[in-house]
Symmetry: C2
Subunit: 440 residues, 2 copies
């Protein structure tokens, strides 16, 4: 493919009511369908109608603060995506799962199963679980330190890869006459013994159609980037400015290259929250409607958690006091999101109330408000200027925000030759132009 043929990749990041934190209060969202599998099947089919590469569900292992003021308590991603798999044909299916609170055998198996069920469309967003509330649900009083979590994650992925490869691609003989279902010499123990795991193997699922699921990651700290450069095939990231996007893009690609990988094998997908209208004014009106619907207490709690501090008593119409912004090194949770938000607070000298409004749309992801052409312009710029291989599309309100994106932005991208008009592959790896890892 010459550079002129380079196409962008689109992932739809789905969340019951949409990404704006007031989405659930907007009349076009469906907070009543948060546990309704048919709703998510419909969203997936909309994304598939738009020929998107994939859909994606985030995940955490605890109920977050302030369960009262936003939708929570929805479905678990791997079961949900299994149910979506059989209602779709082409779209990739990316589930988040934690390496800190799972065992590699269990997770390797769930993803292998999803990959079989979907005919090769499974992807794994590898997370290390940054929130202490998650540790409290897994026998711990304190969270596992950031560095140890990433060390465990690296070994976890190594074990999972060995397990996916433990059945050779041609292990199943189906030799009925000879009484040989599989070749025992091609289903091999992995005999892994490391720092965190001891796993004999083999996996009890045949090698999945993609060999291994697509590996996705979204860590942005130093450890997180190094992990992405080594293991990830697609990277979700939150970047506010083109310059930041370019810096991040270059950083991860350079790290990958240094590690001996083809930098084209790591797709960088910054988040974008497109607030769409048929005119710019209409888009701005939707944005204002959403801001007006924000629950202030919820925004404050979110911001306190992102900044790792308690803002309950600060004045809303003044900037965040400097002494409440801790140094990144002191943060054990989501380091990079903390840095991004505190920079935003410092750079634009925003008041607490303004930060809450600014973060409402994408929790730190870039919000682009405008017409389909304007949104496409922004995407094209980032794509052409070395800040993105594609985008993690985060509709502010669902289902309408995804329908609008598919019906109005995708056609613009297609007309500009930037996006596929038909699927050319069947698997998630094929959509992203990534190779199938060879088997044993």
């Amino acid at each position: 493919m010459t550079d002129g043929d380079r196409r962008l990749h689109l992932n739809a990041f789905l969340m019951a009511p949409g990404h704006h934190d007031a989405a659930w209060r907007h009349p076009s969202s469906r907070p009543d369908r948060a546990t309704d599998v048919a709703y998510f099947q419909e969203l997936a089919r909309t994304a598939e109608r738009g020929r998107l590469d994939s859909i994606f569900f985030a995940d955490g292992l605890a109920v977050w603060h302030r369960v009262g003021s936003n939708v929570s308590g929805g479905l678990e991603p791997l079961t949900l995506l299994s149910a979506i798999a059989v209602a779709t044909e082409r779209i990739g299916l990316i589930a988040t799962a934690s390496t800190t609170f799972n065992e590699p055998f269990t997770l390797a198996r769930l993803f292998a199963s999803l990959d079989h069920i979907s005919g090769g469309r499974a992807g794994w967003n590898i997370v290390t679980s940054g929130n202490t509330a998650e540790a409290h649900n897994f026998n711990l009083d304190e969270h596992v330190p950031h560095a140890v979590r990433y060390e465990r994650a690296a070994e976890f992925v190594e074990v999972a890869a060995k397990l996916w490869d433990s059945w050779a691609d041609d292990a199943v003989l189906l030799d009925v006459a000879g009484g040989r279902y599989a070749d025992p010499d091609r289903v091999r123990p992995i005999d892994h013994a490391g720092t965190h795991f001891k796993v004999r193997g083999p996996l009890n699922v045949q090698r999945p159609p993609q060999g291994r699921p697509l590996l996705v990651q979204a860590g942005s700290s130093e450890d997180g980037r190094e992990f992405a450069a080594r293991h990830a095939e697609a990277v979700f990231t939150a970047q506010q400015t083109l310059a930041d996007g370019q810096t991040f893009y270059k950083d991860v690609k350079t790290r990958a290259e240094r590690l001996g990988r083809d930098p084209g094998g790591v797709k960088i997908l910054p988040g974008i929250c497109p607030i769409l209208g048929s005119t710019e004014e209409e888009a701005r009106r939707l944005e204002r409607e959403l801001t007006d619907l924000q629950v202030l207490d919820y925004g404050l709690a979110q911001l306190s958690s992102m900044l790792n501090t308690d803002l309950a008593d600060v004045p809303l119409d003044a900037p965040v006091p400097e002494h409440l912004l801790p140094a990144e090194d002191d943060v054990n949770g989501n380091k990079s999101r903390f840095t991004l938000v505190s920079e935003l607070a410092r750079r634009d000298r925003l008041t607490v109330r303004e930060i809450i409004a600014r973060l409402g749309g994408g929790r730190g992801h870039r919000v682009v408000t405008g017409t389909p052409e304007q949104v496409a312009d922004q995407m094209e710029e980032w794509f052409r200027e070395g800040a993105a291989d594609g985008f993690n599309v985060m509709p502010p309100v669902l289902p309408t925000g995804l329908e609008d994106f598919v019906d109005h932005v995708v056609p613009v991208l297609q007309r500009r030759g930037l996006f596929r008009t038909e699927y050319t592959g069947r698997t998630l790896r094929e959509h992203y132009g990534l190779p199938r890892p060879p088997g044993n």
Copy 2:
């Protein structure tokens, strides 16, 4: 319901090629579809056409011995059943999962999610994982002792129940105008701190439609029965003779009563492997065909594992040497299956070869060979004589064995007034006539 109205319950125990260990070599089985979700959806729809209460998938966390000589490496039950849920409407969906190698938060959540996805049709076959090969995939060199596994299982179920109940049934307010999605006072931490687990909660899934999934269990040792009597709402069991079935039935019901439970709240479902023909001769022919297709090495390995001994070098046409039959107390794995098989060996003075043939059909479960009327007679006898509340139906070959059962045995049972002709409920609990556990 008066005793005359008492209806039996039927669960279809599904395994890719069927339950006979030579099923995969029989021309009517489909060993090529072991990882094909559409195949299992078709089986589930066949069971639903027969108005069965539920389908069930067994599970283990390792590849068993002799991967070469039988189908293995298929799909994981919870992902598979999620995909089946959306292709069916009424049939219950029972997945096996281990309390020894999972964490309660993870598993409670997966089952809650499946219960939402299926609209209240999830059931959990609680197992403690008897095989040392499973321990080797989870960081252990030696297996966890039998008693400790059951102790952990009891606490595990206690934690899971608290998690399912952590969202009150009416916790979700959906008060859009007031900005209150849920009532935080009705989504409560569980603050569990016990011997094996420390879990703060609440669960991050809303209370499932059934309140809690149906709890199923199949342990038959002393510890296993006590566990069943305390926690199980349905019990799978392998019993060879009516007398043994009656003894087991009475034992579990008595234990449940002693623990203050309604004995009617524990449904006893012995396994039955129906080898069907339109004449008895035709059924016997199918049985012989299957025996002739057995792979002797596989049968020997299975038997060695059940007896917890190595039979590789014993003569095939002589009984199992007494000194190779250890005492039940020395067995750490599947105690009751060991006892059953060693009794069979002693009682009927079978040769090793004969035992392998006898176990081929149902791995220790009762095989009934005959016409639909004859099979129905056997079921009716056990049902009326206090040995069963229903059956765990284990077709020797799939899909044909299930189709034959649904098309020919079910109508006989229906004509006799022993089985429903239409579903009267929507949830798995309703099918089994069991109450929904009240919420907080």
